[in-house]
Point group: C2
Chain length 115, copies 2
């Protein structure tokens, strides 16, 4: 499901906001309550909750309410699927550059000998 195009749309969309990245950054260091997440952000609690809803909808974050406290944590599967998409494209491109470099180096050798 996480490889599905729609999921990547919402994961990258969720990560495109700096406040949401601050939340993911905080949660990567461990689960946190909504009010703990709100502390470093200069915004209202409803605004933080809206950002959390975007993060939950994307699959990057999940939360659980125990008593009156909602605790959030990061979901590494969603992070991994986005990371893998980027890493695959970068690797294909860099391999291509390496092959091109090797080809040009080989091509230079006979010319050097001819001199």
């Amino acid at each position: 499901m996480l490889n599905h195009s729609g999921s990547l749309d919402s994961v990258f969309q969720a990560l495109s906001d700096p406040s949401r990245r601050v939340i993911v950054e905080r949660l990567s260091r461990g689960p946190a309550s909504v009010s703990e997440l709100a502390q470093p952000l200069a915004m209202s609690l409803p605004a933080v909750i809206q950002h959390l809803q975007v993060l939950e909808a994307s699959g990057l974050v999940c939360s659980e309410k125990i008593g009156r406290v909602r605790t959030c944590r990061v979901e590494s599967a969603a992070l991994r699927s986005a990371e893998r998409w980027i890493a695959t494209r970068r690797a294909i491109w860099e391999r291509r550059l390496d092959r091109l470099g090797a080809y040009l180096a080989e091509d230079e050798q006979p010319n050097a000998r001819r001199k």
Copy 2:
């Protein structure tokens, strides 16, 4: 510059659209002209150009016009900065889970011995 928050905003924003990911995917296999990029996409050339403008503004793609042909190529630095951001957060979180797992395993051992 690529580690700057604004750049990550626009890189993740650019990657959140499936047509733009198709373009990046195609360009990871080698440079291409605008009309080559438009071929697999069911959209008008102006729409493709708009997507390319978003990709260029984010730093994911650069282009060069030689004669009448504009050739585009992917910029691995922008891909790498987005990949690194995600990979760092995922690694921090997974290390935390590993430590927790190790802690719980240690904690279980004395109980097992006590039985």
